[in-house]
Subunit: 490 residues, 2 copies
Amino acid sequence: MLKNYEIRKYQMPPDEIKALVKEKREELVRQQLMIKEQAIPVFVLIEGWGAAGKGTLIGNLIEDMDPRFFRVIKMSEPNEEARRRPFLWRYMEVAPETGKFVFLDSGWLSETADDMINGRIDDETLERRLWQIRTFDRQLKDNGYLVVKLFLQIPQEEQKRRMEKLQNDKNTRWRVSEKDILQVKKREKYEKIYDRILEATNTGYVPWNIVDAVDKKQALLQVLHILTIQLNQAAENRKILPEILYKDYPLLKMPKLSEIPLNQEMSKEEYEIRLKELQKKLKKLHNKIYQKKIPVIIAYEGWDAAGKGGNIKRLTSALDPRGFEVHPIASPEPHEKSRHYLWRFYHRLPKDGHIAIFDRTWYGRVMVERIEGFCSENDWKRAYNEINEFEKDLSDWGAVVIKFWVHIDSDTQLARFQERERIPEKNWKITQEDWRNREKWTEYETAVNEMIEKTSTENAPWYIIQSNNKYYARLSAIQIVIAEIEKRLV
Amino acid sequence: MLKNYEIRKYQMPPDEIKALVKEKREELVRQQLMIKEQAIPVFVLIEGWGAAGKGTLIGNLIEDMDPRFFRVIKMSEPNEEARRRPFLWRYMEVAPETGKFVFLDSGWLSETADDMINGRIDDETLERRLWQIRTFDRQLKDNGYLVVKLFLQIPQEEQKRRMEKLQNDKNTRWRVSEKDILQVKKREKYEKIYDRILEATNTGYVPWNIVDAVDKKQALLQVLHILTIQLNQAAENRKILPEILYKDYPLLKMPKLSEIPLNQEMSKEEYEIRLKELQKKLKKLHNKIYQKKIPVIIAYEGWDAAGKGGNIKRLTSALDPRGFEVHPIASPEPHEKSRHYLWRFYHRLPKDGHIAIFDRTWYGRVMVERIEGFCSENDWKRAYNEINEFEKDLSDWGAVVIKFWVHIDSDTQLARFQERERIPEKNWKITQEDWRNREKWTEYETAVNEMIEKTSTENAPWYIIQSNNKYYARLSAIQIVIAEIEKRLV
């Protein structure tokens, strides 16, 4: 790509270029307002060679823009918080909100190239990252983002010349990092790896734009050109329904809810003895995953009053409280709603070696959001694949991912609801909404069956927990968690 | 304190202790529900000697609690993000939301003690931190938090014995850190510094509780005892109005708004020439504060349509976009409202060397919240002092803090409102709320005068920007920013 990129050269005298820059900049200001009105999040990634002028370019781009609606972020080396999370975690963290721009000064391209050059990642990891980047780009685009990717290209001689100039001036010397020097020295190697990444992530939905950055005015005009065109298309593009993909994940064959027997029995005595044994075992495993830095993600879904809370408590009381966190998930808050629907779950991912338990999850998309119409049909239909991708990303990172559907029958729910209304201490657990949801039991059952069918992957399986008998359910869950962690530890 | 603490010893046979522990634990579970209902945030800090059993104790405490409503956080060494912010920043970040518990395993006490022992901070910094901690505790308490501080005490011999036992077992050896070993070796030094910090932060509003941790069962019972008592009092304590403090900050003598002349004139030509000069100067200074790691915080308040947005833009277009951020402040979101009202501003503090510009600020407390009744009278009256403390904390950290009241007269506002309604491209800038606020001009003027009078400190001065003429206003603001930064650079 770097060799054969199309050079957009403006063959006109400098003052005409200047006038054109001015015109395009004014257009950008108008577009910023349009973006705000249309609530489009705009993510602009600016990559390129050291000394290619990324900083100056961004400065020129934003000069007339309203600073309340954009952020410029320089992505430096990932810190410890980021290193203990999936590769793209920190990029998802900074993804813009609706109506706002984020300009990234370097990003996943240069991070990956540096990691390859320094031998921090191998070929296999590289391939996985390329897949992750493509998926990330597509998911952002499908969920309404405009993603613009720019690469500022300068020839080797030009880069060398600029570096030397910076180094020879004592006022600018501090700006030249060791990484920059390495890049000049290993230019060919870098060229190869840049090219490989550029090509592998140059997709129809989010293409790369190679910018000839030798002449700064020409470069600025090129970028303004690219940006304004894409911004104009953004609103139009949003009207096109994204394709609903069904990727070939190895799906496990799962039963329908109606096929699950719920007649298990268990005495309190048996339960207490078994629980103690299992909790002891889990405690030891928790120590091991901590030492081996394995992240564990446990997702709880289930009928209202199925016993999720009590079930979670039996798990956590066996765990070192410094090594887990429980995330109760309610409807998204405004700053969450204005981002990709998976953002708030990325945001809550555990550090490696830690356990995150989600009390309700990202599956809200294909259950409550589907049934209540909080998202479009295209949105929830697309979500099965998006969620499979999300969970693949998690397990590629090394996470143990376990998903529970805590299951009861309709009569048992009714009995428990009535108990909650009768007993004052349990009153807070029951609301009018629970009753309303209950009326939609059949709709939910359809949605749950489809969800379980389409998202039971080998790396993130669903387990249907039979919970008419709570004792039985608690032991089942803890046994499954033990088994899944042990599988990973072998 | 460590020598003379009151030992609570339960003189009873083990099975009675066990029964009592069970009882207290059940009480704690009931209280958790009460805390949730009363929307009280509970912050429990657990400090103590290495190997005193902090982890086990926390594990025992939370065993029966509902894991959805508490978090246990192990505070390790501050990472880079934290080190580039004020000392208490990361503790504010993890402060609990209403109705939730946060248990901190170690915190500002041990961080400060370690820093003293390792010579990372001097006596002066220590004294400043002690003031910060006291202020932090009081502000949390006054704003409705329950803060419980525990210190687990074991004698030197006992600590030594426990450490050796841990080290001799290959399964537990990894749990002994270098810091732990240092603590045993420098026990006397640690004792002295612990004592100094404990005493200086043992206040009437948030006292320390020294727990004799030699016997683990006794310790657990003591802690349960302390915790349940304080939880029971928490709801009662909230009904007592906090004292409204007026600390002796050196206040600058400021004029009333009505005394400000607004008849400045300036031609566009003069403006453009001067602006260019000033922006060039500011650009250089931005480079310097980046190199010297000086944080800069610029707070904008002012009448609607006074020209804050345009004013901010003239500042930022002179700045390297990677080194500043503009934070538009609207009404708080749910997760912000459920914390200390300054939380969302702490959260947005810049890294050192960076500039944060706030478009509306923490002064909302004493303006819109006061006038609209969004907080109580006691709340906003207390806020002057709380804000002075907040800003002192910022300038102690090394920040340049600049506050602008962008001022116009009522006729000018009317003319600008009408213009916004007339011109389609400006429509988005005017809402019904702006008109409603305009009707309260006099109330706001009173509030603004009081605010400026009570919070113009030397380290964080107010500047009233005369903005009937926008050109004049923009040059004023940029001149002040330059002057304040230059003052710091001398």
